[in-house]
């Protein structure tokens, strides 16, 4: 028998927070995946909402290319507020 499809599980811990990836489950379809995710990842009230996404629908960046992919942000310190000198007596900036 072939393996049941794999689903990635995302849990919203409480209203106002975004869903966060917690792990995965095997299930025949989306409904079964939600129920399995509930049983596996929210047995102790860990969430108020679940997302399940077929694992093969996720395209990930290549970890091997991570250095060059994120390198452009490395030399732009001026994107940070602390780069700018504003005297201490100036408030609310």
């Amino acid at each position: 028998m072939s393996e049941l499809p794999l689903w990635e599980v995302f849990v919203r811990a409480k209203g106002g927070l975004s869903h966060r990836h917690v792990g995965s489950v095997h299930a025949a379809g989306p409904r079964m995946a939600v129920e399995a995710a509930r049983d596996v990842y929210t047995r102790r009230m860990e969430g108020v909402s679940l997302w399940v996404v077929p694992s093969d629908s996720i395209t990930a960046s290549d970890p091997g290319e991570g250095a060059s992919l994120f390198e452009p942000a490395a030399d732009k310190v001026y994107r940070h507020p602390t780069f700018y000198v504003v005297p201490d007596n100036i408030k609310h900036i």
Binding site: R12, G15, G16, L17, S18, S49, K76, Y78, R79, H80, P81, F83, Y84, V85, V86, P87, N89, I90, K91, H92, I93
Partner: protein
Amino acid sequence: MYTVELSKRHETEIAEDAGRRAAFESRVAADEFIEPKDWMPEAYRKTLIRQISQHAHSEIVGMLPEGNWLTRAPSLRRKAILLAKIQDECGHGLYLYAAAETLGASRDEMTEALHSGAAKYSSIFNYPTLTWADMGAIGWLVDGAAILNQVPLQRTSYGPYARAMVRICKEESFHQRQGYEAMMQLANGTKAQRRMAQDALNRFWWPALMMFGPPDESSPNSERSMRWRIKRDTNDELRQKFVDVSVPQAEALGLSIPDPDLKWNDERGSYDYGTIDWEEFYAVVRGEGPVAKERIKARVDAWEGNAWVREAAMAHEAKRAARKAA
């Protein structure tokens, strides 16, 4: 028979709606967040789509006045900073469009509403940027005013909007600081540079005050938006806060606020300020701002001129998929 059946169903629906509406009202009153799949009144959804998309449009149109100085920035440092800031505004627009899309608005619909004039954006971007000092004044005042508006929105009742605002506020701080730093440099520079800084303050002060929207008594939707926790402070409260924090900042620069009626009020613990020219505000909102037509034309030209890029990207992807399938 048929009509009786229909009206019966209608009544049940109304009763159901009343129940859900009451539950919704008590959730927002308890400061709970509303998420995309939750039931919400149609008016809540519509108000949010309008507010979030107009906020997004403001970020996108807001790139244009600054883009005007990109090729003429006085140094490579200033150019890199300005470019990074404009890039951020674009990103902020995208976070907000994405939040509006969770309410069922499509990106094309929103773009079309901006281009046709059906949707508004912040009136401040319909003023021209005449000198380099305007880049400083915009960062200091316009982004300063935006921050005051946006900080309370991090706790707005609609989850995706609130989360977009958290990201935006985190990134916004550099915008204001770089602007103030640029103003400091001009204010401590030559006589001509000081004059340029003062002139920018003169031109942007009143439009910045108008950014908070009409006075409370003429803001008809404010009360409902406050009840639904879409808004958390009134326009006038935020405007007063802005005046109170900005005056000492201007003083530190040695520049003067162009308002003869500006005066500290000991009793209120706040500054009194002069009357805002609301006629001008409404005219700019109606699209009669000095460069309103130019702004929309720039957006429409960009959208139409780049249509081939979107088409090419889709065609390329389709070709790739076909090759993979073969």
